[in-house]
Amino acid sequence: MSDWLYIGLAYGVTLIALLGYTLYLRACARRAEALWAEADRREVGR
């Protein structure tokens, strides 16, 4: 493989890792928001 293919592979892996982790963080934030809303709902229902 030429140098540029390895460079492309390196940047592709970096993009997937960083983007993937960012999406995971967004999912964690949404889950936390949903849990907070659930706590609100249960306190109102008390």
């Binding site: 493989m1 592979l9 982790y21 706590a39 249960r42």
Partner: protein
């Protein structure tokens, strides 16, 4: 959960979402800008040619991993000292980001190694100690799922966070202590002056990205724990409606 811990997390956590979002955009700009500048100004290396450009992601990722595990060490010590769950949540957030950065460092090192050393992987001291570092902190994350007791989880995690850090200086100095095919630590003092600006820019960019990762994860963990505390309190006072 201890009394001090539950009181710290039972109130509505401050939503730092706006600031964290700005930090995210700043990190994106810094990484794209840093890589762009490094690509434009760096000429091919005499020995490695254009492959040298992989250094602008591999080295900052490695530095960030070490910073991450230093944060974990400090937060773990603070947790054992003060028993404040926020320190545990900060340590866990830094471990996640550190594991991502260590995994990235290993993968990028392998991609660089194949065309330069002729192999994807070799049991070189630097590579082996870095792989051990990855396993230790991946184990830290696995350990957290072993128990639902927040206090016990935090105590176990703090122990691993402190003991695991012993491997960080071993990774850093492995290229000097043992005979290795990995070059010495890449830093402005050891790389060609032509590459210093690109390396510095990307080190700062990755650091901003790391801070964003940790801040975002910490905020959501804090909100999640506070919500769990409220739900537990509601259950104890008979407010459960299933």
């Amino acid at each position: 959960m201890t009394a001090s811990t539950s009181s710290a997390l039972s109130q509505a956590p401050t939503r730092g979402g706006g600031r964290v979002r700005i930090l995210g955009w700043l990190a994106l700009l810094a990484v794209v800008g840093g890589q762009g500048v490094a690509f434009l100004i760096s000429r091919p290396d005499r020995d490695m040619g254009h492959l040298q450009k992989i250094m602008y992601v591999h080295v900052p990722a490695a530095w960030c991993a070490m910073v991450a595990f230093l944060v974990v060490f400090v937060a773990s010590v603070l947790y054992l000292w003060r028993r404040d769950e926020r320190h545990d949540l900060l340590a866990a957030a830094a471990v996640e980001a550190g594991v991502v950065m260590t995994g990235l460092t290993l993968l990028l090192g392998m991609i660089w190694a194949k065309p330069t050393w002729g192999v994807w992987w070799t049991w070189d001291p630097r590579l082996t100690t870095t792989a051990i570092l990855f396993v230790i902190y991946a184990g830290y994350l696995a350990l957290r799922s072993f128990t639902d007791d927040a206090e016990r989880r935090a105590r176990w995690s703090a122990a691993v966070g402190i003991l695991g850090f012993l491997n960080v200086p071993i990774v850093y100095f492995s290229v000097r202590w043992w005979r290795t095919i990995h070059q010495v630590q890449s830093s402005p003092a050891t790389v060609d002056p032509a590459y210093v600006l690109g390396l510095r820019l990307n080190a700062v960019a990755f650091l901003v990205l790391f801070v964003y990762f940790v801040a975002r994860r910490y905020e959501s963990s804090k909100l999640e724990r506070a919500a769990e505390t409220r739900i537990e309190a509601a259950a104890l006072t008979g407010g459960i409606h299933v």
